[in-house]
């Protein structure tokens, strides 16, 4: 069994509790242990970087240092947390002066980050470390005929980290195919959901959400799968506000990829946090009833 230092992030404590629950269940089902980072703090989201870059990086470094102390690679289910941790770790590994400065601050909590661990998004753990073949093997209830729109969003793929394909990634589609569903291609799969603009520039964010929903609905998706709590919240919780604002009648379920994986593995829906949505997922559940 491989173990990871798990950083849930603020959203998964409550707003996206179902992502946390389904992440725990599905990793467990494939023999992975997620050990929560002790006493972790907020990663700064995007907002902290608006005010102070150095302190924002220090906040991230504290979590990295605690993860490192536990001796496991760092994994985050939230794309923004992942991006912050990935780049903070990269800068600290590359820039000795920065590392010295931040480690001087970390001393106050008896911590030090020496850069010996890797940072991964939860989806990377499934796709790269576990492997899609293994996930296909664990699929006892393939979601045959379910039309899933895989929604990457932004920070899981951008900024570019190495030599990966940022214009046409396929790993999400591969995961959806592995659980027996149809991964449908649509124009907005890599476009922005508005992120925190939903608070600061509401009209702009609702417009982005509308365009995204329309793009998935036009191609007759049954469900949009996400890998980020902010994407899920914008697309699902604000779907009604989009309807009011633009006179549309969207009613498309938005689920975490881990919830769909869990259903395909025959895990009980309650343990996957299904039932706290604004938009009913009943139709999706019918696809998971027949065992292979």
């Amino acid at each position: 069994m491989s173990t990871y230092s798990y950083f849930p992030g603020c959203s998964l404590e409550k707003m996206a509790l179902s992502y946390h629950q389904s992440a725990m269940q599905t990793t467990n089902a494939v023999g992975i242990e997620l050990k929560e980072i002790d006493d972790w703090n907020c990663c700064g989201a995007t907002t902290y970087f608006h005010v102070d870059e150095l302190l924002a990086t220090t906040l991230v470094a504290r979590n990295l240092a605690i993860a490192e102390e536990a001796g496991h690679d760092f994994v985050a289910p939230c794309s923004a947390c992942f991006k912050n941790a990935y780049f903070a770790s990269k800068y600290l590994k590359e820039d000795e002066d920065l590392a010295n400065h931040i480690n001087y601050a970390l001393e106050q909590d008896n911590l030090k980050f020496s850069g010996s661990i890797e940072v991964k998004h939860l989806m990377e753990v499934f796709v790269d470390d576990v492997g899609v073949e293994e996930i296909q093997e664990r699929t006892t209830h393939p979601l045959k005929g379910l039309r899933v729109a895989p929604y990457y969003g932004c920070q899981i793929v951008r900024p570019k980290k190495d030599h990966e394909d940022v214009e046409n990634p396929q790993f999400f589609e591969e995961l959806i195919t592995a659980i027996g569903a149809d991964a449908i291609n649509y124009a907005y799969r890599l476009r922005c959901c508005g992120g925190s603009l939903i608070i600061t520039s509401r009209e702009a964010a609702l417009t982005l959400v509308r365009n995204l929903l329309q793009s998935a609905v036009d191609i007759e998706a049954d469900v949009i799968a996400t890998a980020c709590p902010l994407c899920q919240t914008n697309l699902e919780v604000y779907q009604m506000q989009v309807n009011q604002e633009f006179g549309t009648d969207f009613s498309i379920p938005i689920m975490y990829f881990t919830q769909l994986m869990g259903l395909a593995m025959g895990l009980p829906k309650k343990k996957l946090g299904i039932g706290t949505e604004f938009i009913s997922t009943d139709k999706i559940l019918t696809y998971a009833k027949e065992a292979a």
């Binding site: 603020c10 404590e13 409550k14 707003m15 996206a16 509790l17 006493d39 703090n41 907020c42 700064g44 989201a45 995007t46 907002t47 902290y48 970087f49 608006h50 005010v51 102070d52 870059e53 150095l54 302190l55 220090t58 906040l59 504290r62 800068y91 400065h101 931040i102 001087y104 601050a105 106050q108 909590d109 008896n110 932004c154 920070q155 951008r158 900024p159 570019k160 940022v166 214009e167 890599l190 476009r191 922005c192 508005g194 992120g195 925190s196 603009l197 608070i199 600061t200 520039s201 509401r202 009209e203 702009a204 982005l208 919780v237 604000y238 506000q241 009011q244 706290t276 949505e277 604004f278």
Partner: protein, 187 residues
């Protein structure tokens, strides 16, 4: 003879962590503006804003709402043929304008960002109900009611925490932050 840095150089100097090329390498192709999902809401498109910076039009840049509309999707950054970190630039302009306390009057972003930072330094984790007052009163009546309805629904679904989260080692956490930005008694 010593010379003062130009506005363009000043902005470049604020991009500590970005590893992109200098703003001067911008060829004004407009790929960023064509890619940006919120360009239609901005008073200057990203391409034009970079042009203004390179022409040292400081006031126009500080009055602009462009960077407060940036949602950090990094689409411009990965597509820029000159490999300028444009989203990184937007972050640095946000910091510059907060530092100068100069931004469009109706912008919610600056106040929200500062409230967010203070709340993290106070408790170590983010907590939505504490943040709401920083923006909710600038909403119109309809938006306000919509938000209130959404918040009620979230509460009913058990998706908003009742008790604010707090770190166990909060004192250490605060002392850590203090080594980066000493804040005296103002905590």
């Amino acid at each position: 003879m010593a010379t003062r840095p130009t506005f363009s150089e000043e902005v470049s100097n604020l991009m500590h962590a970005s590893h992109g090329n200098p703003l001067k390498t911008c060829i004004q192709c407009g790929t960023c503006s064509g890619t940006c999902p919120v360009a239609e809401f901005m008073d200057h498109t990203p391409r034009r804003l970079i042009g203004l910076i390179n022409a040292n039009q400081k006031e126009d840049v500080l009055e602009s709402n462009t960077y407060w509309y940036c949602a950090s999707c990094f689409h411009c950054t990965v597509r820029c043929p000159s490999e300028i970190d444009i989203a990184g630039l937007m972050y640095s302009l946000k910091r510059y304008s907060i530092w100068k306390h100069q931004y469009p009057e109706d912008a919610i972003g600056p106040v929200f960002s500062e409230t967010f930072v203070k709340s993290i330094l106070r408790s170590g984790r983010s907590y939505e109900p504490v943040l709401a007052p920083s923006y909710i009163f600038s909403y119109g009546v309809r938006e306000f009611l919509n938000e209130a309805a959404t918040a009620t629904n979230l509460m009913l679904k058990g998706r908003i925490p009742v008790i604010p989260p707090r770190l166990k080692r909060l004192e250490n956490f605060k002392k850590m932050a203090d080594r980066i930005i000493p804040m005296g008694g103002a905590k």
